[in-house]
């Protein structure tokens, strides 16, 4: 498949702070996830490919054309920034139509497009409410709405699931997947692996301003599988549960967190470990209060992969 976005030796720094360093990659049509811990350079990368900031070195090409200062190209790009960018006193409808006016559509087209976008992000009912009264989820959806309203071929979403409740996340994920089905190209960033996993299996790992890995999510998963995981379990009989865990060779360590009153288990095979849990709980009649993975975040994986 032909790459739509190409970057060559892309570098950006802010004074002494390195934003992105020597990134050369190609992004093909479909959904691509940009994954990296906070401060990795994801937002910098997205702003570079949307032509909002100028690279210090290198260039970004979309459809073979340089993006920087190519304003006509911006009509094909829909960008959803990470931060809220609303005039709170405007209604959702006013916000969208005002932004659509910048694309020089006719008034009829502006209304039609705003209607469609609000319908897609399920805000039609609330379009006449001022943004100040919107919930976090509605704001996120409106932000996605402004990115898709002008029918762009390329949609860039910077952490669109940030701060959303599970229902809100599901709505946005479904929306992104539907958009892919319509033949668009979507680049979405996140620092949470399962979020990206729910949308795509093609990811780019960014860490400390560099592309750390690029490819299929299974490749990343394989890397992660070899990384020992800590799982925290809060339950009624933690000592009994600890005794049961000892018998399995993929359980490496078990210890008690007295402060949090939980059992911490380290395993080098997360999938096997999690499939074991239900039967252990049921067979031993253990009531579970909470299961969490304290290190199930990208920073831990990156630290492990770079050998920290």
């Amino acid at each position: 498949m032909t790459a739509v976005i190409q970057t060559q030796n892309l570098s950006k720094w802010y004074g002494n702070v390195l934003g992105l360093s020597d990134v050369t990659l190609q992004i093909e049509p479909g959904i691509t996830g940009i994954l990296g811990p906070n401060g990795a350079g994801k937002s910098t990368f997205l702003k570079l490919i949307t032509g909002q900031i100028k690279p210090n070195i290198g260039r970004v090409m979309i459809h073979g054309q340089n993006v920087w200062n190519n304003y006509a190209m911006f009509a094909q790009i829909g960008f959803c920034p990470e931060q809220d960018s609303f005039y709170e006193e405007l209604t959702g409808w006013q916000f969208l139509t005002n932004l659509l006016k910048l694309h020089h559509f006719s008034p009829e087209d502006i209304n039609a497009k705003a209607e469609i976008a609000l319908d897609i992000v399920e805000l039609t009912k609330d379009k006449d409410r001022v943004i100040r009264s919107y919930s976090r989820g509605m704001r996120q959806r409106l932000k996605v709405g402004q990115a898709i309203a002008h029918d762009p071929n390329i949609i860039i979403l910077d952490e669109p699931l940030n701060g959303l409740d599970p229902l809100g996340r599901r709505k946005i994920i479904r929306l992104i997947k539907e958009y892919k089905g319509e033949g668009r190209m979507i680049v979405v960033s996140s620092h949470v692996l399962p979020e990206i996993e729910a949308m795509t299996n093609r990811i780019i790992l960014i860490h400390q301003g560099k592309v750390f890995a690029q490819g299929d999510i299974h490749y990343i998963r394989d890397l992660i599988e070899t990384h020992p995981h800590i799982v925290s379990i809060k339950c009624s009989q933690s000592r009994l549960l600890a005794e049961k865990f000892i018998g399995y060779d993929y359980v490496l360590k078990v210890h008690f967190d007295l402060q949090k009153k939980s059992l911490l288990v380290e395993t080098n095979n997360r999938d096997k470990f999690f499939s074991l849990l239900p039967s252990l709980f049921i067979d031993n009649n253990i009531e579970v209060e909470e299961i969490t993975s304290p290190d199930d975040n990208l920073q831990a994986v990156f630290d492990y992969l770079i050998g920290k």
Binding site: T2, V4, Y14, V17, G19, P29, G30, N38, G39, S43, T44, K47, T50, Q52, I53, H63, Y71, A72, F74, A75, I77, G78, F79, P81, E82, Q83, D84, S85, F86, Y87, E88, N98, L99, K101, L102, H103, H104, F105, S106, D109, A112, K113, Q146, H150, D151, N153, G181, E182, G183, R184, M185
Partner: protein, 290 residues
């Protein structure tokens, strides 16, 4: 290049040629300003001098009807000449009211965008930085031209209509050009001055205080320094006096201060250039590093 087609129906409307990409920004700014509390009242109040001057032009052509109002020599009463125009364009009340208009319409022009992180949304669209800045400046041009250029040209038109001949314009053929040049200079200066201050903070109230404060204090400092050193050169510190100096020259009048008017012009142009350079650097897609 077509990426993929999976049943997606592309929009088949017509893409309008963006000849005035700044216009949506200007229209939005004007609309928002009129929504502000008390603005309509303030703006109407600002138009009061124009109304008074217009009535003056009418009376000047009907002096015999109003002779009961005048005692003594009538020859100097309401003599409509370049001095009459100069007094309108450079009077303290009008300049002060313009500052009040700037406080209402200009303080939030960029600061609100900074506060709401809106710049990244603007610049993710087919909009150049120059279009953005021009769109913002055009909001100020709109309001200040209504107070300067439009009344100035109407005054001339009304003078000709009331007089019923072209004697006035034959006597001062350069006057329309003076009005256009002074209005443009004054409005451009105030536009850049306001945008500069609006871009330095995210809080519109803070910016409003700056717009008002710098104008007022520049005049107060002139008064203080003049009081101490008795040198009229300190009038160069005052925004108001600099504008009045240049205005007087453009309307072929004696300058109010005994200081070369060129210095005042250079100060005004210098502030404009520095403001432009600062705005060009300051206004850009916001990058947040965590």
């Amino acid at each position: 290049m077509t990426i993929k087609e999976k049943g997606y129906t592309h929009w088949d409307g017509e893409l309008k040629d963006g000849r005035f990409p700044w216009w949506p920004i200007t229209r939005f700014g004007i609309k928002l300003t009129f929504k502000r509390k008390f603005f309509k009242f303030l703006f109407a109040l600002t138009l009061l001098p124009a109304l008074v001057w217009l009535v003056g032009i009418y009376i000047s052509e009907r002096l015999e009807d109003f002779s009961f109002m005048v005692r003594g020599d009538q020859t100097d009463f309401l003599n409509v000449n370049p001095s009459y125009f100069n007094t309108y364009f450079t009077n303290d009340f009008l300049l002060f009211m313009m500052i009040m208009i700037l406080v209402f319409c200009g303080a939030g022009l960029i600061s609100d965008d900074l506060k709401h992180n809106a710049l990244q949304l603007y610049f993710a669209r087919p909009l150049k930085k120059q279009d953005y800045l021009f769109g913002k400046a055009a909001v100020i041009f709109f309001f200040l031209f209504i107070l300067t250029l439009v009344p100035g040209l109407i005054f001339i038109l009304m003078k000709l209509i009331f007089a019923g001949n072209f004697k006035f314009i034959n006597s001062y053929p350069w006057l329309p050009l003076s009005i256009i040049v002074y209005s443009t200079l004054l409005t451009s200066f105030f536009a850049l001055y306001t945008l500069l201050l609006s871009s330095v903070g995210k809080n519109r109230r803070y910016v409003a205080i700056l717009i008002f404060g710098i104008y007022i204090f520049s005049d107060i400092f002139y008064g203080i320094f003049y009081g101490i050193f008795r040198s009229q050169y300190f009038s160069l510190l005052s925004i108001k006096v600099n504008l009045q100096q240049v205005g007087a020259v453009l309307f072929n009048q004696r300058t109010p201060q005994n200081v070369p008017w060129l210095y005042s012009l250079l100060i005004i142009l210098g502030i404009c250039v520095l403001s432009g350079l600062f705005l060009n650097k300051k206004v850009k897609g916001v990058e947040i590093i965590k």
